[in-house]
Symmetry: C2
Subunit: 297 residues, 2 copies
């Protein structure tokens, strides 16, 4: 599984083209990503924002200003609310963050009246092309210092998302600084507890184990040397890090040193929210759209 196969899968489904509402579209890179998805015939867009600015951005990029529906809106909160309202009215299938802040958008996503909230617990998932799979890293974008209960929800969200992406029983590695439970290191203790909760079916649909270090989570050779006997060892689909710093720094460490294809979305909501970083290139923004489209029915 990689972004190319995910992109092809969307087209092969031969369904009605999905519509994405963009909260704040007055930005070159965002409009470029929208156009790429539009040209590849995988999605259509409703652009929300300052109509004059959006039209001039489109013209500057030599795109036709009447390709997309544009909804004029200059207030930050209103842009976010409108994007979610289009979802609730079934005029859009997905919501995408444009120039509005993450906080402003998520507040609307969590507003009960739009039906986007889902199970009520959102988490961030970064997906990185690695060997023959999309390695997931979570949660480097939303939950700062998750409790044990919140980590369990992060794990369940990640499994549900990967099953929708097409992975039958996703392998989840609860990753720490080392692979043995150590009472001095709370992250290893949480990992051991969560692994046992998964054994007892408190977490469903995946194969969950930990603690692992990153090396023995993804490298069979490292797992062999450390003598770790686990179906997850050396072949994890998803890395669950103990907190936002470990997940965020390690995902960016991979992205900025080996430059793999990658994308990211907010999961746990009824449909994923496409959450782009200002520093993402347009390909990464496009990949995030591909990820989200793939998990729609």
């Amino acid at each position: 599984m990689n972004f190319k196969t995910l992109n092809e899968r969307i087209l092969s489904k031969n369904r009605t083209k999905k519509i994405i509402s963009v909260a704040g579209a007055e930005n070159d890179h965002i409009i470029e990503a929208c156009f790429k998805a539009y040209n590849e015939k995988i999605a259509d867009f409703i652009l929300i924002g300052d109509k004059q600015k959006i039209i001039s951005t489109l013209k500057n990029l030599n795109y036709s200003p009447d390709t997309f529906e544009i909804i004029n809106c200059t207030d930050e909160k209103q842009k976010a609310a409108m994007a979610c309202k289009l979802f609730s009215e079934k005029k859009a299938d997905l919501v995408m963050k444009g120039s509005v802040s993450t906080g402003t958008l998520l507040k609307e996503v969590l507003n009960d009246s739009y039906g986007l909230k889902g199970n009520g617990f959102l988490s961030h998932m970064a997906c990185i092309e690695f060997e023959d799979r999309l390695l997931g890293i979570t949660d480097g974008g939303l939950n700062i210092s998750p409790t044990l209960e919140e980590k369990v929800k992060i794990v369940q969200n990640s499994i549900d998302f990967y099953i929708k992406l097409g992975v039958d029983k996703p392998k989840v590695a609860l990753t720490c600084a080392l692979e043995v439970p150590n009472p001095k290191m709370p992250a290893t203790i949480d990992a051991a507890i969560i692994a046992k909760m998964a054994d007892r079916q408190d977490i469903k649909g995946g194969v969950v184990d930990g603690p692992f270090a990153f090396d023995n989570a993804v490298s069979k050779e490292a797992a062999r040397i450390k003598k770790i006997d686990s179906p997850v060892a050396g072949s994890a689909d998803i890395i669950v890090a103990p907190d936002i710093e470990a997940a965020n720094i390690s995902a960016k460490a991979i992205i900025y040193t080996s430059h793999p294809k990658n994308g990211g979305v907010i999961i746990g909501s009824t449909s994923p929210v496409i959450l782009l970083s200002r520093a993402d290139d347009s390909e990464t923004k496009f990949n995030s759209i591909v990820l989200a489209l793939n998990v729609l029915d």
Copy 2:
């Protein structure tokens, strides 16, 4: 600066060959790394451990059993103590972890009677070849959840080490999940405080700034997009992570996805302690020896 240039620098110094005492040498990979360093004429070794086992390991690898001095010792604690005692008696210039556990060795390193303790605060430094430099990541090996005061010591240790490696004013990025101080994220607050402490000369010899996300610490383009004006932005020599999980997972994430040359040592002691992981390949073990030899006078 890379491992090749560091290796050449050792030879160009044309000094007496340094001697390394190995705590527990009954292991194929360790002996291979020692032999590589011996053959490249950068170091000599005193092997401490079960003499019969060491000799049979040497013979199995087709090495002459009388190349190195071997000190017979079968007790774990005694192996570690002997390695440090050789340092205190000036019979060895460096101590290297062999098969003994990290905890056992560090207990002896911290024993006042051997003079290895240095300023008394030890930290771990991983160095990874990245672009035209050795990117340092600390502390993923020793200090689990450092306090603000301990983070300051980790930063100072890292600067002192990089200056000895030959970097004039090392650039240190205090790295978090994002680049703005956020009261909800203690790591960003610590980073802001430490950056200001460095401005006030509580930390000396380097250029220290933060908070950074990993992307804007190492990528000038990401720093430009995020509008970060700092001499460290986009060109950090050293990544200081907020805790052991963030440092350990991110260093291994780089190593196990892009496979750069790398090595690691314990710093803050009078001379660095060469600390090898069982999962390290023999090249990584050799690079760790090169790192340590480079900072000796």
